[in-house]
Subunit: 148 residues, 2 copies
């Protein structure tokens, strides 16, 4: 079986105050914000902070810390914060071709939260997999924007 | 400020049954176990599964999924499972020099759970930072074994 995952793309971290969280990661680790977006569909305001150097592996994304502040309490991240508090929310892995990856994973018995790719950070195509089929881990697949 | 973090080294995932969790990641994503260890000091049996290709960036570790099964209920991962269930437990970031990194982070007001580096997976030197100072995220620094 060919490996589907090309890298750990990002760790998604739920926070109550995005600006405070950004300040913490800047001050503690010297990370820098490379993208700041509102994703209405997912109900978050979010920042991507680059970790390490971009490496020429076919796609050009390094790893990211993704900080997520909910747009309101009745959003996935808002409900996560109410239930579990701030902390690790999900992990995102890079894939070469998200359509092929979803097809392959679907037949392996893991439920897809997104049957079709959605719009993610920095123009990526993304899809989430069901945490109940992956040992409690909300898992995201990420096909970066730009040349495949 | 020079960036301290060279990469997302791994995501640590707490599970009740290591062999079942390994089987799930192999079958779903085609990942392979590259290291299987017992760490008595940390109270875990653990597997490292490589994600993506190793890249020559000065150190040679790719990213890893680290699956953690507690050696008993009265261990950090055992208590985590009792409190929160299976799922994301921590994130590990690569550093070039863990002693320097701990010195730098300590003066930035983040409490160190390990004042001195400990033995981690695959011969690495590791240290944990206090989640209460990092938005609820248990954070590990990893200096890989071998040439710096």
């Amino acid at each position: 079986m060919l490996p589907l995952l090309t890298r750990i793309d990002h760790v998604g971290i739920a926070c109550r105050d995005l600006d405070a969280a950004i300040g913490r990661y800047e001050a503690t680790f010297g990370l820098q914000v490379v993208s700041l977006e509102v994703n209405e569909e997912q109900g978050v305001r979010e920042a991507m902070l680059g970790v390490g150097r971009a490496v020429a592996t076919g796609d050009l994304r390094p790893g990211y810390v993704q900080l997520l502040e909910p747009l309101g309490p009745d959003t996935p991240v808002g409900r996560f914060l109410a239930r579990r508090g701030e902390g690790l929310h999900h992990v995102g892995y890079g894939v070469q071709d998200i359509g092929q990856a979803l097809d392959a994973i679907g037949v392996r018995g893991v439920r897809l939260l997104d049957e079709r790719p959605r719009h993610g950070s920095m123009g990526a195509s993304i899809a989430f997999l069901h945490p109940a089929d992956l040992g409690g881990v909300l898992t995201e697949l990420v096909q970066a924007a730009g040349p495949a």
